[in-house]
């Protein structure tokens, strides 16, 4: 053990608990509004309870039901399917768009493109959901366009059809999240030294080569953030589905977030709802943590 230096500052040295004093308010808020609900949710998940009356101990019954009840388990599968739309499409498309915008960064078009793409982030999700449900309705804009193109055969009520409802909800999510990913990736791109691109071009690299050898590796962390945020948005989706389909038709767009809400507030099965919420939380962590680990910047 090192000998403590008899510095004159010793008298001014603040005891370590003072640090806790500064953290205390934030910690208290965090404990009351984040940790306590999590612990209570876990506790509720072990009971059969209607939210008001007396509860009975259920042990792990609720968890067993989450995985055996086809309705509940299908909702989890739907959320996993939504990852394709909420995460894969926005990130891949966002990468392509961001690197395109970077190439025209100084033109006015780039500014317009950035604004237009980011706009969905500014619009409340509920408004976006309503607007999209009009667009996708049986006589909405989407079907009108198809009819004009002579594709009257494919027109349908996109959100009311068993085979297209989930993809249609996914498209809304992709539209919302594309802007976020693009802006994040653009910000990342602006950090890359232009000299690197210049050097690559001198070595005869084309746009594709630049993209794969410089852009993508340099954006590792930003891509990590995008993937994490969008995967969480997919798994914990609620607003878009609630506005666009309410889980219908026939549960084909039911997601855990919505199911939890129905269970807790309509069916008053607080225990079941809590168990599904805990499972959802674990699932989100199980998806988000590996992404974080994979995209960690190991150089620092």
């Amino acid at each position: 053990m090192k000998k403590r230096s008899p510095a004159p500052a010793a008298g001014l040295r603040t005891p370590s608990w003072v640090g806790w004093l500064f953290v205390a308010p934030a910690l208290a808020v965090y404990a009351v509004f984040v940790l306590r609900p999590i612990v209570l949710t876990f506790q509720y998940s072990l009971y059969r309870w209607d939210g008001i009356g007396p509860s009975t101990w259920a042990g792990l019954d609720n968890y067993v039901k989450v995985f055996t009840d086809p309705d509940l388990f299908d909702s989890i599968l739907n959320a996993v399917k939504l990852i394709v739309f909420f995460s894969a499409i926005p990130v891949l498309l966002g990468l392509a768009i961001a690197s395109t915008i970077r190439r025209i960064a100084t033109s006015r078009l780039a500014l317009v493109a950035r604004t237009v793409l980011f706009l969905p982030q500014v619009i409340p999700l509920v408004a976006a959901g309503i607007a999209w449900s009009w667009l996708l309705s049986s006589n909405g804009l989407v079907n009108q366009v198809f009819s004009h193109l002579g594709l009257g055969g494919v027109t349908r009520a996109w959100l009311g059809d068993f085979s297209t409802a989930l993809p249609a909800v996914g498209v809304i999510g992709a539209w919302v999240l594309l802007g976020l990913c693009t802006i994040l990736l653009l910000a990342g791109l602006s950090k890359i030294d232009p000299a690197v691109y210049e050097a690559a071009r001198m070595d005869g690299a084309g746009p594709l080569r630049e993209f794969f050898s410089i852009t993508v590796p340099s954006l590792r962390q930003e891509i990590g953030v995008c993937v994490t945020v969008t995967v969480i948005a997919a798994l914990a989706s609620f607003d878009i589905v609630f506005i666009a389909t309410q889980g219908g038709p026939g549960n084909s767009t039911m997601v855990p977030g919505l199911e939890i809400y129905y269970l807790a507030f309509s069916e008053r099965q607080v225990g079941m709802a809590s168990a599904l919420a805990v499972v959802l939380m674990v699932l989100v962590l199980a998806c988000a943590l590996p992404v974080q680990w994979l995209t960690k910047d190991r150089s620092s």
Partner: protein, 452 residues
């Protein structure tokens, strides 16, 4: 050294946090008021007295009836003021238990009541019923609001809610479109209705305007009408009221579901019916996109205003000529919180709504439905030929045949969203058979009734 100190602090804080969290961990719940064994005995007829009273009401937004009634009530009883909170019905449904437990209103619009009674959140109204003589009204008016001990079985037992009026469902039709297919009077048998549907389809008119989208399976309306057309109403009520051994999976209900399936396959519903919500259905029907619409008399006033003279109403015709008529009919239920401050005054108001001539006028003119109360009570004049007139007449016809049914969606708290809606949507999409639909709903029902 300092590191070790910090570690110890970390541990200490963690323990405090976890301890604080764990301290809150008894079994959840149990803060509900105790259930009353019987109704509060009421010695003299309750009134609102003469001292200033403020009645706290929690009502459904979008329907002017309760507000109009409260205004008229204050006019007649100036000592009563109102403090009214409004929400959409879906919000009331979700909030009801918590609101009744934490901040009980004197008067509240009620969702399905079984659970609320089970938790002892609603006042038992038997005492008031005796004091005001509600027991002498036609029994069918109050049947749906009676519950057995613990809220288990509905349809008999103590009274826990009261209606502002009672609504009636049936079939609306667009008279202009009906004329086009040569339908001069409403069909009197199911076969005649089928013929009209087929004629409309051939003439390029959408035969049925109905909603079935999102979380609200509106095909439950024609389905239950068909059930009542093929079989008696009583067994359907038994199922809704959770009588032991009741089942929805009966031969006559299967015929009804198969009939509905034929309508679907024949293309009588809109192609996008699984994406149509209630509001869209109404605007399309008013816009002339549909000959028939299975709906309730809460829209009579609206339709009289929007398409004056162009809308007719008839009760679902029976399968056989001269068969009994039946319809879904339900009171617009209001209840009193078990810990409400001004319960007597609230009960007096409910009685006034059913018996005061002016209140009854408002119930019909504003609410569009039949008022509660004694069979021989004052009935307001309604203009001949209006939809309101025909729905009121239909109400009388149904009670003559004892054909009032509750709605199959009200059997349990979860049956509509969990079973009827997804199953009917699947039936439309051809992913479910009529037989499979009934089996599946019945098995959900069993697990919900047994499990709760």
């Amino acid at each position: 050294m300092s590191r070790r100190v910090r570690n110890r602090w970390n541990g200490a804080v963690l323990m405090v946090v976890v301890g604080a969290l764990a301290a809150g961990c008894g079994a959840p719940g149990g803060d509900a008021p105790q259930t009353e064994a019987g109704g509060t005995p009421v010695s003299t007829t309750p009134t609102c007295g003469t001292a200033p009273v403020t009645l706290k009401a929690y009502i459904e937004t979008g329907f002017p009836l309760p507000k109009e009634l409260s205004t008229e009530f204050t006019k007649q009883h100036p000592n009563v003021k109102w403090s009214i909170r409004e929400d959409q019905f879906a919000v009331i449904t979700q909030n009801a238990p918590r609101v009744l437990a934490d901040d009980p209103p004197d008067l509240m619009r009620l969702p399905q009541v079984s659970e609320l009674v089970k938790d002892g959140l609603l006042k038992n109204l038997d005492g008031y019923a005796k004091a005001f003589g509600w027991d002498s009204w036609p029994a069918s008016q109050l049947q749906q609001m009676r519950l057995g001990p613990g809220g288990k079985t509905r349809g008999e037992g103590s009274l826990y809610a009261m209606g502002l009026n009672f609504s009636m469902t049936g079939v609306f039709y667009n008279k202009k479109l009906a004329a086009k297919i040569g339908m001069s009077s409403p069909p009197t048998t199911l076969a005649e209705l089928d013929a009209a549907l087929a004629k409309a389809k051939d003439a390029g008119i959408a035969p049925i305007a109905q909603f079935n989208g999102g979380a609200t399976g509106g095909l439950a309306f024609p389905l239950q009408d068909l059930m009542a057309s093929y079989g008696p109403a009583a067994p359907i009520n038994d199922w809704i009221f959770q009588k032991p051994g009741a089942t929805i999976d009966t031969p006559s209900n299967l015929k009804a579901t198969q009939h509905l399936d034929q309508w679907i396959k024949a293309g009588y519903f809109w192609k996008d019916v699984n994406a149509v919500d209630y509001a869209t259905m109404m605007s399309r029907f008013i816009g002339g996109q549909g000959l028939f619409m299975f709906n309730g008399d809460w829209e009579s006033g609206n339709l009289d205003k929007q398409m004056p003279g162009d809308v007719g109403f008839f009760l679902m015709p029976p399968a056989e000529k001269g068969g009994k008529l039946a319809a879904m009919s339900a009171p617009l239920t209001y209840g009193i919180g078990s810990r409400a401050k001004n319960a007597d005054c609230a009960a007096f108001f409910l009685n006034w709504v059913a018996t005061d001539p002016q209140a009854r006028d408002i119930a019909v003119k504003v609410g569009g439905s039949h008022p509660m109360g004694p069979a021989d009570a004052h009935m307001p004049d309604v203009a001949e030929g209006t939809v309101t007139a025909s729905t009121l007449q239909a109400g009388a016809d149904v009670s003559k045949d004892n054909g009032a049914m509750d709605f199959i969606a009200n059997a349990t708290g979860a049956i509509y969203a969990k079973s009827w809606t997804p199953q009917l949507q699947k039936l439309v999409a051809g992913q479910q058979t009529p037989d499979g639909l009934l089996t599946s709903v019945q098995s959900d029902y069993k697990s919900q009734v047994g499990g709760s």
